[in-house]
């Protein structure tokens, strides 16, 4: 991974971002943060609906068709801006424990969201109202929100990877 990061840092797109880093990196990071806001709140509103804490005048499906597309498109935007950050600062991103742990949790969060939205689409209204009463689904809603919170914390910790001590690959460089 170290070799890959070093190789990537010498490619043209990486050099391009590095030479304009004084404005490019903060700009990409800011767009990334705005995207995080959309992802987190989309998940939050769907979870609140499942928990019965918001949007009770709407069916679950009305809530998911309101926020599901925003969630998925914002995730795409995060993937693009995230990839740009990796290209721009490969060593800073790839040679960290926080980054890879974050990627695992992003995968977990995305898979849960995709399965949830898909299952919901396939079933009728009665099913979705019954399903929101299930304790396991409510628990899942809380778990999903916590996963995304952890993703945010790990994203910030990429800048402070040394706090992981020996777990941080940067310590062994």
């Amino acid at each position: 991974m170290n070799e890959f990061a070093l190789w990537l840092s010498q490619t043209y797109p990486s050099v391009l971002i590095q030479t304009h880093n004084s404005w490019m990196i903060p700009t990409i990071q800011s767009i990334h943060i705005a995207g995080i806001g959309i992802v987190l709140v989309s998940v939050f509103m769907m979870d609140l609906r499942i928990l019965g804490l918001a949007g009770r005048d709407q069916t679950l499906r009305q809530t998911t068709s309101r926020f599901g597309p925003w969630l998925m498109w914002a995730l795409v935007a995060l993937l693009v801006t995230g990839a740009l950050m990796v290209i721009g600062e490969p060593v800073r991103e790839l040679v960290t424990f926080s980054f890879w742990f974050k990627m695992v949790l992003v995968a977990v969060g995305t898979v849960i969201a995709a399965i949830f939205l898909r299952t919901l689409k396939r079933n009728d209204q009665r099913w979705e109202e019954a399903v929101t009463e299930r304790a396991s689904i409510k628990l899942m809603a809380v778990f999903t929100f916590l996963v995304w919170l952890a993703v945010i914390v790990l994203g910030r910790l990429i800048a402070y990877d040394h706090i992981w001590g020996a777990w941080s690959p940067a310590q062994r460089l």
Partner: protein
């Protein structure tokens, strides 16, 4: 009391120094700040998109607001408190940092914009609550709000790239530099310092 003395006494509080001395506290505060502002921005965006007639158009405005505004305020309080604690660690530098000042100015403007909306268009809510396309003044307030909040995010991120360069090194009081406290912190230390600024 002089403002510099006030700032100095903020930096000297035990809470500020324990944040500076800790390896974990500052990153944790930053993370909570990001979580808070993500919720603030995301929830405000939902309100603004409703005002613009671009989303949630089939729901009355007051229902959208009732679901959302309490979370906006809770998240804003979290963001304000964590931001205040981060400020306390290096109050003098942040206070004199022009990016920080600009961010505070935009926050004030966002507050004014909200206040004006509440006192004018918000008063006539009964007339357009269920309308998929609220009055022009509401749309204007929504555009201003979205623009300001995006600006606030940009400036906030920018502060991280400027704090350590905001004051000359030979400045008076015991200057604490975040970079010295987090020597491995790639982010704000390795990040785009203007080439003419010497790294300490």
């Amino acid at each position: 009391m002089e403002i510099s003395a006030v700032l100095q006494s903020i930096e000297n509080t035990s809470i500020a120094s324990s944040i500076r001395d800790s390896l974990y506290l500052f990153p944790m505060l930053e993370s909570m700040h990001v979580i808070g502002l993500a919720i603030v921005f995301g929830t405000i965006a939902i309100m603004d998109l409703r005002l613009l007639g671009l989303a949630s158009v089939n729901r009355p405005f007051h229902k959208v607001a009732a679901d959302i505004l309490k979370w906006t305020w809770i998240a804003f309080i979290i963001t304000f408190l964590t931001g205040g604690l981060m400020f306390s660690t290096n109050a003098t530098a942040y206070f004199h940092n022009s990016v920080f000042q600009a961010k505070m100015a935009l926050l004030l403007l966002a507050g004014f914009n909200m206040g004006i909306f509440e006192l004018t268009t918000g008063r006539t809510l009964g007339k357009w609550d269920t309308s998929p396309s609220p009055p022009r003044a509401a749309k204007r307030a929504a555009v201003v709000s979205l623009t300001l909040w995006i600006g606030i995010i940009f400036l906030g991120r920018w502060i991280g790239f400027t704090t350590s360069h905001s004051q000359p090194k030979e400045d008076t009081a015991p200057q604490i530099n975040l970079d010295d406290l987090f020597p491995g912190a790639a982010d704000d230390s390795k990040a785009p310092a203007p080439p003419e600024t010497p790294k300490n």
